[in-house]
């Protein structure tokens, strides 16, 4: 059994058992699970096609036939919200994935080696950070042209500095710890120390940042599609649907309400799960039953 497996197994088991005990976290997890199922299988699960225009049922309020109502073209809002879940999840995961990988790598090297490298990298991050999030995303989309891929890249770039900063701050405190010096003293290489000692010890803030960023990335995507810079019609996206529904706020509230609710619930679920994970992933915090077991 490798050294990693030994420590990981306990963490995973503990994470699962703690999630089961925390009702909020459990709710968040279940919502995310439903979201993933809908995101993956949306087009099969949806009661009707997303672009099935039916002029007989235009702007109908929620009913048994159309639980979320219909839009101005008679399309089923529930089906469109379900299919749009995939876009939101995809944008969230890919863009945060980009930000996480790039930001953590930059922050790790900047914080570990300090000096000129730190200065150059972090000043670049400061420049990116100085732009308002949406303005920067709009600028990037303007350069690369609208569409799903550019939206993901743009949001990824926008959130990279946050990950770089969170990582660097963590590295700066961890690298001064005696256990890092101990690792140097047994001959561990810089890369090994960063991977085996520094990263795991800053995992908690990174996990929290990831869950928060997933939420914000989904919001950013909604904002970009609201502005018409994300997914192009007629493909559905929550932000785009919100935009399309804004003209009908008074007569057909359901056009904006359900995509908005979907955004809200998704963002909330990511935050709940993120908070729970932060509490669980710190092995210094023992649960009562574990404390009893270790002293027995």
């Amino acid at each position: 059994m490798s050294e990693q497996q030994i420590s990981r197994e306990g963490q995973v088991r503990r994470a699962l058992s703690a999630l089961r005990r925390d009702p909020l976290a459990l709710t968040g997890t279940l919502v995310l699970a439903v979201l993933v199922v809908v995101g993956v299988g949306g087009s099969w699960l949806a009661p009707s096609g997303i672009n099935e225009v039916d002029v007989d049922v235009m702007l109908q309020p929620p009913s048994w036939a159309h639980p979320f109502g219909t839009d101005e073209l008679g399309r089923d809002v529930l089906s469109r919200v379900m299919v749009a879940a995939r876009v939101s999840l995809q944008v969230g995961l890919v863009s945060v994935g980009i930000a996480l990988v790039v930001g953590v790598t930059l922050g790790l090297f900047a914080g570990y080696y300090r000096g000129w490298l730190d200065n150059v990298l972090m000043r670049c991050m400061d420049v990116l950070f100085a732009f308002p999030v949406l303005l920067l995303a709009v600028a990037i989309v303007a350069v690369l042209g609208p569409g799903l891929t550019t939206a993901m890249v743009a949001i990824g770039v926008v959130y990279t500095p946050i990950f770089a900063r969170v990582t660097r701050a963590g590295v700066l405190s961890v690298r001064e710890q005696v256990f890092v010096r101990a690792a140097v003293s047994v001959g561990a290489s810089d890369l090994r120390i960063m991977r085996r000692h520094v990263l795991p010890n800053i995992a908690a803030p990174l996990i929290v940042q990831t869950s928060l960023s997933l939420a914000f990335a989904i919001l950013s995507e909604a904002a970009l599609s609201f502005l018409g810079l994300g997914v192009q019609p007629p493909d559905p996206a929550w932000g785009r649907m919100l935009f399309d529904g804004r003209g009908f706020v008074t007569e057909a509230w359901w056009l904006g309400f359900f995509p908005g609710a979907a955004i809200f619930v998704t963002v909330l679920a990511f935050n709940l799960v993120g908070d729970a994970l932060r509490d669980v992933l710190d092995p210094r915090q023992l649960t009562v039953s574990e404390a009893r077991r270790s002293t027995a």
């Binding site: 059994m1 490798s2 050294e3 990693q4 030994i6 420590s7 306990g10 710890q177 005696v178 256990f179 010096r181 101990a182 690792a183 140097v184 003293s185 047994v186 001959g187 561990a188 290489s189 810089d190 090994r192 085996r196 000692h197 795991p200 010890n201 995992a203 092995p283 210094r284 023992l286 270790s294």
Partner: protein, 356 residues
């Protein structure tokens, strides 16, 4: 510095003859120097000025022996220990390990050096990665230096190391926070043993432990030394512990070694006023002797290593300081065979202090 260098050479020339000395029967191969510092200086730039943590220290550690290094905090004893692993960069002087000059070695080469010289840290809690299991911490040297083939062999070796330090094998899957302080320090020792080092630097290994546990750890260290023929540099501020553990000892003050000798010589007959003051602070178990014990209270704090006093560095706190002490920086000079002190009035000053 040339004067002090010459003095150090004399020190080195005088000591290796000890094979013949009945006082040090433990040494199997007294001639072999495992590691040495030669006129080492380690200065750290700080906003307040350049801190001269170590400022001209020479010492040699020979195979199978324990060299005790004592001094109060700020004396530079830990920095000297770190220099042996090149965990700090020397400002000047030489660090030699197994005869090789490692002073200018690259980071890559240093990684190999760190298999030969291992370190046990003062705070076992802080020196173990809280995220890693005990087994993973102990296995790190094995992985880094590719000492075992595959996970099963590594696991066996970790079990063996745990057994050597008196811990049960199942602790390998625990995290540091699940262990007691004494157990954690045993883990630190097991990690130091993993690479079968030529020298183990023990940096205050018992200072942060409970009194009852201190004795256990000291006994463990002695047993391991006897069974495995280990070589120790034992760094401590506790004179009694150093005396108990060491074959030879060196007393540091403000970045310099002020006295060296066998524990018996230094204990019975300290030649440097600073050593005498340190010794007078050690309680004695015999009530009669304890009543007679005359404490030498030093005035003031240890001076700033940014701006050490000119002449003898101890003169600002020395009860026997004389005008000459401000003029001359004393070098280590022989008082008895194998016993040296850096004091212009070595012996004499101590006698004067004690008779007061």
């Amino acid at each position: 510095m040339s004067e002090r260098q010459r003095a150090d050479h004399q020190l080195n020339a005088a000591v290796p003859a000890d094979g013949a000395h009945a006082a040090v029967p433990k040494q199997r191969d007294p001639g072999e120097v495992v590691a040495e510092l030669d006129d080492l200086a380690v200065w750290f730039p700080t906003p307040a000025g350049v801190v001269r943590a170590v400022d001209g220290v020479s010492l040699r550690v020979r195979r199978g022996e324990t060299l005790g290094l004592v001094g109060e905090s700020g004396s530079g004893k830990s920095t000297a220990g770190l220099a042996l692993l090149r965990l700090v960069d020397p400002t000047s002087g030489t660090v030699r390990v197994a005869g090789e000059d490692v002073t200018r070695w690259s980071r890559r080469r240093l990684r190999a050096l760190r298999r030969r010289v291992a370190m046990v840290f003062q705070d076992p809690q802080a020196s173990l990665d809280p995220r890693l299991t005990i087994g993973a911490s102990i296995a790190e040297p094995l992985i880094v230096h590719r000492l075992t083939d595959g996970g099963a062999a590594r696991r066996r070796r970790v079990d063996e190391l745990l057994d050597m330090v008196g811990l049960r094998g199942e602790l390998a899957d625990r995290h540091p926070h699940e262990l007691s302080g004494g157990q954690r320090q045993r883990v630190g020792i097991a990690r130091a043993l993993a690479g079968e080092p030529d020298l183990i630097v023990l940096d205050e290994p018992i200072a942060s432990l409970d009194l009852s546990v201190q004795a256990q750890i000291m006994n463990l260290l002695r047993r391991l030394q006897r069974d495995l023929g280990l070589t120790y540099l034992f760094i401590a501020h506790d004179l009694a512990a150093v005396e108990h553990m060491s074959d030879r000892m060196a007393v540091m003050y403000l970045g310099r070694i002020v006295e060296t000798g066998t524990p018996a010589q230094i204990w019975r007959d300290p030649a440097h006023p600073y050593t005498a003051a340190l010794l007078s602070a050690v309680p004695v178990a015999d009530p009669q002797a304890e009543r007679d014990r005359r404490r030498i209270i030093l005035s003031g704090d240890i001076p700033s290593p940014v701006d050490p006093p000119g002449g003898c560095r101890f003169r600002t706190r020395c009860p026997q300081a004389r005008p000459e002490c401000a003029e001359t920086d004393p070098v280590l000079a022989e008082v008895d065979p194998d016993h040296r002190a850096a004091c212009l009035f070595a012996g004499e000053a101590v006698r004067a202090m004690r008779s007061r």
